[in-house]
């Protein structure tokens, strides 16, 4: 039962959503993002999984590559972004899974807001989560792999923001698409990774440049590619999201 709340605030304390206006749609986006993040803050299921998963990936990759300090130093950005890509899959899949298990997703779709708001809300939550994870993982990777920070370090948060946004857009979109299918755990990375290859490439090259493994001027071009990818996929996925959710 999703009766429209009467007062300015509903029982859960979330802002009331006026129907049909741009401000109302934005409020819906924020409410859904807030709901997802709140749920995560209380259960911490994904946090534990992704944080340890990323850490284990870092350690395993370092073991697999051996003792060569120079090799480790050079591969740090690549390992970091591969770990973040895997974490992105887990985060996005879980954000739909926890809703579907409790039947909450059907209720979410009953709200009189555009379907795109549901996508944008989930995207916002997933992106914020991944970006924070990236902020935690970056120094850990740099220390573990013996890479030193370069001079243009202020651009690193920009790379993290753009790169994780690209991951989050594609992962959230495909997670919605595969949410009701069999073998979704295996299917999501199969569908998502070929699409996010430009993001992976751009983010890794840009990070390499920023931590002094490459000419720093190269980072600008890769950041432009990331921004372009983010924009195009953001618009495309938002526009066609309503077609992939199951009624």
């Amino acid at each position: 039962m999703s009766a429209a709340p009467q007062g300015p605030r509903d029982r859960a304390g979330a802002a009331v959503i006026p129907e049909g206006s741009a401000a109302g749609d934005l409020a819906a986006v924020l409410a859904i993002a807030r709901k997802d993040l709140l749920q995560e803050a209380r259960s911490r299921a994904v946090t534990v999984a992704t944080l340890f998963f990323s850490a284990v990936t870092l350690v395993m990759m370092a073991f697999a590559m051996g003792q060569d300090a120079e090799l480790l130093r050079r591969s740090a950005p690549g390992v970091l972004w591969v770990a973040l890509a895997f974490a992105g899959v887990i985060t996005a899949a879980q954000s739909f899974q926890s809703d579907l298990e409790e039947g909450a997703f059907d209720q979410l779709l009953l709200y009189p807001v555009p379907r795109a708001s549901v996508f944008l809300g989930k995207l916002l939550a997933n992106w914020l989560y991944l970006a924070v994870l990236g902020l935690i993982m970056t120094p850990v990777t740099l220390v573990l792999y013996g890479a030193r920070a370069g001079s243009d370090l202020w651009l690193l948060p920009v790379t993290l923001a753009l790169g994780t946004f690209g991951f989050a857009v594609v992962a959230t979109f495909y997670a919605a698409l595969t949410a009701n299918l069999q073998a979704r755990e295996a299917l999501l990375p199969v569908l998502m990774f070929p699409v996010v290859v430009p993001v992976l490439l751009g983010a890794v090259r840009s990070t390499e440049a920023l931590v002094g493994l490459q000419n720093a001027t190269l980072a600008g071009g890769w950041l432009q590619l990331l921004a372009g990818f983010d924009l195009v996929y953001f618009v495309t996925c938002t526009a066609i999201f309503h077609l992939v959710v199951e009624e």
């Binding site: 069999q182 699409v195 490439l201 090259r205 071009g221 590619l225 077609l243």
Partner: protein, 242 residues
């Protein structure tokens, strides 16, 4: 109780198209293998280029057409558009596989490696992976409308990913020979250009023939499914539209 169904015959135009494809394919092969002179640098190996470039071009056309029919399906919701999109996606997957195989065999003697992380090769490999994903997802959805919608969406995403994958791979590193037919000035012998364009035309004909045949089969499959659904519902006169 088995009911005998008469399989509808192939329409005349399709049989003629198939026949002319076979004839022109033979002509194209003759042109590429006998008429074309050996290349200054690559010698006889240039003959592989005709096959490789032709299938590669057709593969990209088929991917774009898949996305376009996907959009048409989303727009009008007619099952026939989904059938057309799938036909194109199947041809695209097949030609992407051919492009990869021919590209690898071609680059082994000319570039001295089976695989380079070059823009076009990487792009084709990624596209192949995306197209395989298209069919994996299709196989998991039973409801025809939802299946059509979801595959249309994936088809669109595949088409949108092409320029980005190309840009990223091109900046990454490139070893691939530049376009044989450049926009500014053609640096290829006239005979060879003719042979190349002829073979591209033949590949396009092969594509048209297979797509037409696949669409014909797809429509028959669709009719059969509808008929079966009617029979299961026990209402012989009722037409079930999906």
């Amino acid at each position: 109780m088995t009911q005998r169904h008469e399989t509808p015959r192939r329409p005349l135009w399709l049989r003629l198209l198939g026949l002319s494809t076979v004839v022109l394919f033979a002509v194209g092969a003759y042109l590429a293998l006998v008429v074309s002179p050996p290349d200054v640098n690559q010698g006889q190996l240039i003959r592989m280029m005709y096959a490789h470039v032709s299938v590669a071009w057709v593969c990209f056309v088929a991917v774009i057409v898949t996305a376009l029919y996907g959009m048409a399906f989303l727009w009008r919701g007619r099952p026939v558009d989904d059938t057309r999109a799938v036909a194109n996606a199947e041809i695209a997957t097949f030609f992407a596989g051919l492009t990869l195989i021919s590209g690898m065999t071609y680059s082994r003697p000319t570039l001295n490696t089976w695989w380079t992380w070059d823009a076009k090769l990487t792009l084709t490999a990624l596209m192949f992976a995306l197209l395989v994903g298209y069919f994996v997802v299709r196989g998991l959805i039973d409801d025809p409308t939802r299946r059509g919608r979801v595959s249309a969406v994936i088809g669109i995403v595949v088409a949108v990913s092409l320029p980005f994958n190309y840009l990223a791979a091109a900046w990454f590193r490139t070893l691939h020979p530049t376009l044989s037919v450049a926009v500014t000035g053609i640096h290829i012998a006239p005979t060879m250009l003719f042979v190349l364009l002829f073979n591209v035309g033949v590949a396009a004909l092969v594509y048209l023939t297979f797509v037409s045949e696949r669409i014909r089969i797809g429509k028959l499959e669709h009719e059969r499914d509808e008929e079966r659904e009617r029979r299961e519902e026990g209402a012989p006169g009722e037409v079930v539209r999906v």
